[in-house]
Symmetry: D2
Subunit: 341 residues, 4 copies
C-alpha cells in the first residue's frame, strides 16, 4: 500500500467528528442552519475568536465560500485584488468571473502580495484619469497560509488592513488551511487576532478535520443579506446542522488546535528529513505543504511507494513536487517516506 502525501483532503473526518455525527444522526432538527447545533457552534467560534462583534456563517466548500463572500462584498464596478497565484485566480474555474467580477492581479511573492504593491496599485488606479473606465479595486483577497504554504507576518497583515481601511475596501482572508497556519512555529498571530486584522475570513474545515465545511467570520453587519445570497449560490445545506455539529467538535475541545499542531509536526519532521537527505525546498514553507526539488530518478523511485503532487512540468533532470500532511498523517508514514530516501 502506498503512502499518501498528495493533499489534505484524502480522508473523511476526524474520528471525534464522525462519532458526534453518528450520535446525533437520528435527532430531528429544523433545516438550513437554524438549529441549536449551529447556534452553539457559532457561540463557540465567537468565544474562540474572543469577540461578540462578529457574524458567523457556515458554508460547504472553499470555492463556494470564496465566490459567495466576494459576490456579497463587491459592487458591480469593482473587482477583487489578489496575488496572481491566488486560488480564486487560478483554480476555481472562473467562479469569481461567473458572478460578474474581475480578479485584479498583483505579483506573487511566494504566494503573498506585498503591501507596498497593493498601496501602489490603488493609488495608481485613482491617479489615472481614465480610472472610471477601469475596474475599481473593491476588496483584497489573501490566503493564510497561501497556496504556497507561506505566512504573512502580523506586521504585513496590519499594513494590508491599514491600506485597505484607508480606502474603505474590505480585506478578506481565505483560511481554507487556517488551522495549519495558526499551528506553525512561524506564525505570530492567533485566531483571536484575526477579527482585528481583517474584515472577513474563514476557518476552513474541509482540510482540517471535517467531512466538509467552511466557517465565515465577518465584522458584524459587513455581509448584508448574506442568507439569501448563500442560498442563491447553492451553498445552503438543507441539513445545516451537519455543519454546526462538525464545527462544535472542532471548537469544543480545542480539537482545531490539536489537529493543526499534529499536521505541522509531521510536516516539519518531513521537511527536516528531506533537507537532511540533501534535498532543497524551492519554497521555504513553515506549514503543512512542503515544496521540494527532487532529482528525477529519486522522484521516480519514490513514486513507486508514495503519492505526492508534481508541481508544474517534469524537468530534464529534476522536478518540483509538493508533499502535504494533515490531521490524518501518521508519524510512521513520514518515517517510511524518509526511509525511502
Amino acid at each position: 500500500m502506498k503512502l499518501h502525501f498528495d493533499t489534505d483532503y484524502m480522508e473523511g473526518a476526524h474520528p471525534q467528528v464522525m462519532e458526534r455525527l453518528l450520535e446525533t444522526n437520528l435527532e430531528q432538527t429544523v433545516g438550513y442552519g437554524q438549529d441549536d447545533y449551529c447556534k452553539q457552534a457559532k457561540s463557540l467560534i465567537r468565544k474562540a475568536c474572543g469577540t461578540e462583534d462578529i457574524d458567523v456563517h457556515f458554508l460547504v466548500g472553499g470555492t463556494q465560500t470564496n465566490s459567495t463572500v466576494i459576490d456579497a462584498l463587491l459592487r458591480h464596478h469593482e473587482g477583487v485584488l489578489a496575488a496572481e497565484t491566488a486560488h480564486i485566480n487560478v483554480h476555481e474555474s472562473g467562479a469569481i468571473e461567473s458572478c460578474g467580477h474581475k480578479v485584479l492581479t498583483l505579483p506573487s511573492h511566494d504566494g503573498k502580495v506585498c503591501p507596498e504593491e497593493v498601496r501602489e496599485y490603488i493609488s495608481e488606479f485613482y491617479a489615472d484619469e481614465t480610472y472610471e473606465h477601469m475596474v475599481a479595486p473593491g476588496m483584497l483577497y489573501i490566503s493564510y497560509p497561501t497556496e504556497l504554504g507561506t505566512l504573512y507576518t502580523r506586521q504585513e497583515l496590519t499594513e494590508l488592513h491599514t491600506i485597505c481601511g484607508e480606502r474603505g475596501i474590505p480585506l478578506f482572508i481565505d483560511g481554507a488551511r487556517l488551522g495549519y497556519g495558526l499551528a506553525s512555529e512561524a506564525c505570530d498571530i492567533t485566531l483571536e487576532d484575526l477579527p482585528r486584522l481583517c474584515d472577513v475570513f474563514y476557518i476552513g474545515g474541509t482540510k482540517v478535520g471535517l467531512l466538509f465545511g467552511e466557517c465565515v467570520v465577518a465584522r458584524k453587519g459587513l455581509l448584508r443579506h448574506f442568507f439569501p445570497l448563500i442560498k442563491q449560490h447553492g451553498a445552503l445545506l438543507a441539513k445545516g446542522r451537519l455543519l454546526g455539529i462538525q464545527f462544535m467538535c472542532l471548537f469544543a475541545d480545542r480539537l482545531y488546535t490539536a489537529i493543526g499542531h499534529h499536521a505541522i509536526e509531521q510536516a516539519m519532521r518531513l521537511k527536516r528529513g528531506l533537507m537532511a537527505a540533501g534535498l532543497r525546498p524551492f519554497i521555504d514553507s513553515p506549514t503543512n505543504q512542503q515544496f521540494f526539488i527532487l532529482p528525477n530518478d529519486l522522484m521516480d523511485r519514490l513514486a513507486r511507494h508514495a503519492t505526492f503532487e508534481v508541481w508544474g512540468a517534469r524537468g530534464d533532470k529534476e522536478t518540483r513536487v509538493r508533499f502535504v500532511t494533515s490531521w490524518a498523517t501518521r508519524p510512521e508514514d513520514v518515517d517510511s517516506l524518509l526511509e525511502l530516501l
Copy 2:
C-alpha cells in the same frame, strides 16, 4: 417531545449510510469524485437505470443542482419553462436568474404543467413576429413529484418529452423527492423509464436517506464540459467520495426503493387517518407530502404536540397545512398524531 412532520430533511442519514461512511472514514482516496467509490456508484446507477447511455454526476444540494444543470443547458437568449409554483421559480432566491436565465412561467395545475399549454406557449412564441426580442423557451423544467406532491402520468411525461423533442429543447426533471414518487401507488413509471422519458433528471439523496447529495443522470453527451461548470458553481465536493459512498449504499441493496416505500406507507396511513377523521385535503397527493385543511382550533391543539408546515396565511376559521413523512418517520409517530385527532 414533539412529533415532527415538517419536512423530509430533519434527520441525518439512513443508518446503513452512516455505517458505511464510518467504515470508510480513514481510507485515503483522490478528491473531486475521481475515486473508485464514485465509479462504483455510477455503475450501480447505470444498472438501476437500465442503460449505459447516460452520464452520471454527483452534486451536493438541490438548488445547486438545478442552477448548474440549467446553466449548462441554456444558451444566453433562452430561458427555462416551468410551472409558476416550481421550486426554481419561487424558492431558490433567484439562483437561476443569478446565472443570467429567465424562468418562463406556465400555469400550475396542482404543481404540474399541462402538455397542451406547453405546446401552445412554444408555438405562440415562434408565431410572434417580435419573438427575437423575447426570451426563447430553451428547456422545460418539471419536478417529479411536484412541489405539491402530485405526479405526472407516463402519458403526460411522454407528451411533454415529445413536445420538447420536436423543438430540440431538453426536458429536465427535478427529482429531489424522486424516491417518494416512484414508490407511490399512483406512479406508473419506473426508474428505468426515466432516461427515455426525459433528457436529464436527478435522483435526490438529501430528502431520501442521505446526509446530502443529488445524482444527475443525463443523456450521454448532453451536459458538455460539466465538470468545470460544477466547480464554477461551487458544487464540487473536495471529498467527492462522500457522495459516491452514499449513493452506493442507496443503490447497492435496493435501499432507495425500500426507503421510498416506507415513507409512502406512512404517508398513506396518515392520509387515511386524517380523512377518516373527517378532514379533507386541498390537494390530493399520492406521495410523502400531504396537504390538508384543518379547523383552526384543531390545528392549534395539534401544534402543541406536533410540528407541520402552515401553507400560506392562517385563515379565519381553517388553515391549510402540510404534513411530510420520510424514510425516518416511525409508524408509532403517525399513530400518535392520529390519536391526537
Copy 3:
C-alpha cells in the same frame, strides 16, 4: 406609397435636431459625455424638472437604460417588481435576467400595476416565513405611458411611491414615451412633478424626436458609481456630445412639449375618426398608441395602403391592431387613413 402607423421610431430625428447636429459636426470636444453640450443639456433638464436635486445621465437606448438602471439599484438577492406586460418582462430578450435579476410580475390592468396589489405582494413576501429563500422585491418598475398607452393618475403614482418608500425600495419610471404621456389630455402631472413622484425616471428621446438617446433623471446620489456601470453595460457613447446636443434641442425651446402635443393631436384625431366609423378600441388609450379591433376584411383592405401592427394572432372574424403616431406623423396621413375607412 404607404401610410405608416407601425411605430414611433420610423424616421430619423426632428429637423431642428438634425440641423443642430450638422452645425456642430466638426467641432472638437472631449468624449464620453464630459463636454459642454452635455453639461448644458443637463442644466436645461434640471431647469425643466424644476429642481437641482437630481442627477442626469444620458444613455443610448431604452433596453440598455432599463437594464443599466435596474442593475445599479438592485442588490443580488433582490428582483424588480413589474406588470406582467412590462417591456422588461416581455420584450428585452432577458436583458434584466442576463444581469442576474429576476422580474417579479404583478397582474397587468391595461398595462398598469394596481397600488393595492403592490402593497399586498410586498407584505405577503415578508409575512412568509420562508421569504429568505425567495427573491425580495427590491424596486418597482412602471412605464409612463405604459406599453398599452395608458396613464397612471397622480393619485396612483403617489400611492405607489408611498408604498415603495415605506419599504425603502425605489420606484423607477420607464419614460420611453414620456413626452407622449405628458402631452395627453388625460395626464394630470407635469415633468416638474416627476422627481417628487418617483426615485428615478427617464425622458425618452428615441421615440420623441431624436436619432437616439434616453435621459435618466435620478434622485441625487441614488445611482452610485453609475458612470463605470454605463461603460460596463456598453451604454457609454464615445461621442457623448451627440446626446448632449440632441437633448439641448429638445429642451432649449420647449420642443419636447411641442412634439408631444403634435403626436397626441394626431392620435386623438385618429381615435375619433376610427370611433366615428363605428370601430371600437380594446384599450382606451389617451396617448399616441391606439388599440382597435378591426373586422378582418377592413383590416386586409387597410393593409394594402397603410402599415400598422397586428396585436397578437389574427382572429377568426376580427383582429386587434395598434396604430402609432409620433412627432413625424403628418395630419394629411391621418386624413388619408380615415378616408380609407
Copy 4:
C-alpha cells in the same frame, strides 16, 4: 484656439456621412436593422470583404461590440485570451467579466501577443492535470491596430489563426481602428484577407468617420442567435438604419480607404516632424497613434497650445505622451504643432 490631438473621436461624422443622414432623415423604415439601408450596407461590406460567406451585423460602440461578440462565442467554462494591455482587459470597466467571462492575459509586446506564447499557454493549460479547475482558453482576442498603434504581420496573423484553429477556438480581431491599420504603409494585408485570417472581426466606424457604429463580420454561422444577444446586451439600435446608412457611405465610394489614408498621412508627417526635432518615440507605431517621449518643459509649452494624452504618470524630466490623428485632422494643424517645437 487649441490644436487637438487627444484622440480620434473628437468630431461628429465625416461630412458625406452627415449629408446622407440628412437626406434620408424623414424617410420611414422599419426598425432594428431590418431596413433596406442595412441590407445594402451589408451587401457592400460583403463585396469589400470579397466573400459571401460571412455574416454582417451592426452595433453601436466598441466596448458593447467586444462584450457581445465574446459573450456569444464563449461557453461558461471558457475565458478569452488577450494581451495584458488589451482594451477588454484594461479599459472596459469589467464588461467582459460582467458577462461571466475571465480575460486570460498574455504578455504584451508593444500591444501584441506572440504566437509562440499563445501556443505555449494553450498546451500548458491542457498539460496541467488540474486543468478542469482552471478557465479554458476559449477564444483569442487581438486588436488591429493594437491599443499601442502596432500591427501584426500577415505571417503573425496566419500563425495565430492556425494555432487557434488547431484547438477549434475562434480568433477575434477588434478593429475599432481597422481603417487606420489597413491604410498604414507597414500593413501587409487587405480587408479582403481578414475573413480568411480570423473567425470574426469588426470594422470600426466610431473612430473612422461615423457618428458611431461598429460592423461585425463573422464566418457564416459562427455567431448563432446573435440578434437576441445584441438586444439583450442593449446594443440593438431602434433606428437601426442609422447604422446602415452610415456604413453605406463608408463603403459606397471607398470613403473608408480614403479616410484611413488621410489620417495615416498626417500621422506620418507628425512622426517625421517630431523625430526631425530630435524627439524619440517610445513605441514605433506605423498607424494614427504616435507615442513620443517629451522633455517636461517642451511638453508644458506644447500643452498651452495643443491637447494630447499624457501616457502614464508625469516623469521627473521627461514624460510619455500620445498624439492621435484622424479623418478630421487638418494638415495645417500638424504644421502648427510642428512649428511649436
